[in-house]
Symmetry: C2
Subunit: 207 residues, 2 copies
DNA sequence: ACCTGTGAATAAGTTCACAGCA
DNA sequence: TGCTGTGAACTTATTCACAGGT
């Protein structure tokens, strides 16, 4: 199976497996079967095995997968084995929560810069990152920052994205509730925390 | 096409269309073609038409869709035409950002209660919501709250989910970075803001 | 006996191409 | 002419069932 195209859905699930493996690792597990991992992540064991089979033989028949090895393999596939610097744009309520969030490290992300337009915030130090004036956004180019997290108001979103593209960013995690137009040299993932909740009532079993 | 099963992917896209329609509406558009809407949401026009066709004939040939009507239809399908009360559990950095976030209203969600374990926070009023002691979580049952937003530390997540289930909640938007085990009478959507970023490097075109 | 890896079968979702109505 | 609605073709993804190591 190793030479065929990798399904997007498989790539989408890899970070979920990674999260499960880290959990298992914390519990002291050295080896894990697809059945065990399934319980950690809520995905069927045959789906897990199929997903891994696209990349190689990661497991041992009769035994399962080595937790540490599998973790490294997934990080390598996702290209997050080497930590990458990211810039945060917009340090409002949500931006502040993102800065304070401890979980980015395990996915190889290092929020190394933060920008805001509000003069009162500029110069403040949050979690070791000094908030800079958004007019300095262009500096990320020479600082080799290729990733950005956007947490700006919707009306500023497209403009901010344009600036980021100009500054050479290659990937954007967008928390503004809108679709962003960018050249196809840039990958955008949008998370609209309110919108994601909108489908809950549809799936809620009728009372 | 009206009588077949609705694809999950179609349901997932409906909130995106809704967001686009609200944008178009703000711009003063009364009618919109699938081509126009496609530009607002980044989804192909034929996909848009196909999605709507599962539910009925929402448009007019030669003209397009009436923005207001389509908005109402989508809200009705998603069962968010009548506003629903939701409880927020965990008012840390992220919880605070969620409380302050203005966007829930358009998806028919009203954060009507907030709970935290920290005595210093209890009693504080944020955006018109008074933070209550988490020990009072059970009260949401008689307050007819069927939806919850969880923004608690990972180690408390499963336990909190269990409490919510016991309190009669039917839908949970989970921001803790873990999979939650709940009975199938409850629908969970998990957003792991760090994890979602993990697939960016994979898709980033090589420099 | 146990658990992975995978071809084959099935299911789900997308895209096309155009009929049909305004 | 313009744009929707949709069957049919095509593509992608999931599930099964079991061969093949340990």
């Amino acid at each position: 199976m190793r030479y065929s195209r990798i399904p997007d859905e498989t790539i989408r699930r890899l970070p979920i497996y990674l999260r499960g493996l880290i959990l298992a690792s914390e519990q002291g597990q050295k080896n894990i079967s697809s059945n065990d991992l399934a319980e950690y992540v809520g995905i069927y064991p045959w789906q897990i095995r199929k997903d891994f089979s696209y990349f190689g033989d990661f497991g041992t028949r009769g035994v399962g997968y080595n937790v540490g090895k599998l973790e490294r393999e997934i990080k390598r596939i996702l290209k997050i084995n080497i930590s990458q610097k990211a810039a945060l744009v917009g340090v409002g309520n949500l931006g502040m929560a993102i800065l304070a969030f401890p979980g980015f490290g395990i996915y190889g992300l290092d929020i190394a810069a933060a920008f805001d337009i509000n003069p009162k915030k500029i110069g403040r130090n949050v979690k070791g990152v000094t908030i800079e004036n958004i007019s300095k956004l262009g500096t990320i180019k020479r600082r080799k920052i290729k990733l950005a997290v956007m947490a700006v108001p919707r009306k500023a979103a497209q403009e901010t994205a344009d600036e980021l593209v100009k500054a050479g960013v290659r990937g954007i995690l967008n928390f503004s509730p809108c679709y962003l137009l960018v050249p196809n040299t840039v990958k955008v993932i949008t998370i609209d925390i309110a919108m994601d909740m909108a489908s809950l009532p549809y799936y809620m079993p009728a009372s």
